[in-house]
Symmetry: C2
Subunit: 194 residues, 2 copies
């Protein structure tokens, strides 16, 4: 069993509404051992892709994404949820991302300068549920006419439709940890992993 | 000359209003070589402190903070600008941080669970100008009765009052790159570094 799974079983907390709280080690406080294992798993799975850039969305995706990018010695790019004063409208690719948790649609953006048609982009995020963030990132890469070589997810809620939406786009998706159910406050994983 | 300084001179862009745009390598797209050098400088400068936790604020501080924490094999904690659904009010330390750039005051918060009186905290951020973010983080650490062992900054605007405010609190501050002036679109560094 992967260390991330062990950690989820040990320290993850299931809250009402199918919410898995992992803020002691993944998306608020970050455990360096968990993060290193996550990064190693992504690097191993995507090792045959000629990745030129790792991409994520602020804020919780940044830690795993930068570790992977550092290891591969390539740049990391994170999509922003607020408009920087240093970036004018015509210099951005932007898309709308709906958060079901927050019941809010936000515009996310990247500078056109940092995504080019030559880029082969690995998208990394901490969670996948409805797939909105990952689809938004894929949309940004497609606007730049760059290529998405894959999507790497730390924790996938496999009982929600995110994975299917990404597979429908023909994109390779790899999740370190796939959760089949959080019902009755019990965490069960998908047997047939990845 | 440090690689970060070289990179700032080569790829930094000075915009009106004393704004230094470094989003090609530091706070939107992140250059892995720059980031590694930054992380090494922080680790070297603070090597005699018994750091138990690295802390920053989302989003641009996360990349340098997680690299330092990973290297030291200790947890990283980032203060959040939006309230997570998984964290109730009584479980938070919170403080207000004013952004002069955005002319907006935001509440930032951390879970009480992840800052304890035993913690010796190294605060890391990408920029220091008026010092509001760093002072907010110091306030959160003090609320937890933990100790701030230092503040590490990638780029300090030394013509703004942030450093003085932090020094007034008796906190050790180390900035990799200190900018004396951005006037007339010219970048000049503080001669007597750190």
């Amino acid at each position: 069993m992967s260390y991330l799974k062990e950690k989820i079983l040990k320290d993850g907390v299931v809250l009402d509404g199918n919410v898995l709280k992992v803020d002691s080690f993944l998306n608020h406080q970050i455990d360096p051992v968990v993060l290193k294992e996550i990064s190693n798993e992504f690097i191993e799975y995507f090792k045959d892709k000629e990745i030129t850039k790792v991409m994520t969305i602020e804020a919780s995706g940044i830690a795993p994404a930068i570790l992977v990018a550092s290891h591969l010695n390539i740049p990391m790019l994170f999509a922003k949820k607020t408009e920087p004063s240093t970036l004018s409208n015509e210099d951005q690719f932007s898309t709308n991302v709906h958060s079901y948790t927050k019941n809010k649609t936000s515009r996310v953006l990247v500078s056109k300068q940092y995504l080019t048609p030559d880029d082969k982009v690995l998208i990394i995020d901490d969670f996948l549920a409805n797939g909105e963030a990952a689809l938004g990132l894929i949309d940004l890469v497609e606007q730049a006419k760059a290529e998405v070589v894959g999507v790497g997810i730390c924790v996938e809620k496999s009982f929600q439709p995110g994975r299917a939406k990404i597979e429908d786009k023909g994109v390779d998706i790899f999740s370190i940890c796939r959760i089949a159910s959080l019902e009755n406050n019990k965490i069960t994983f998908v047997e047939d992993e990845h």
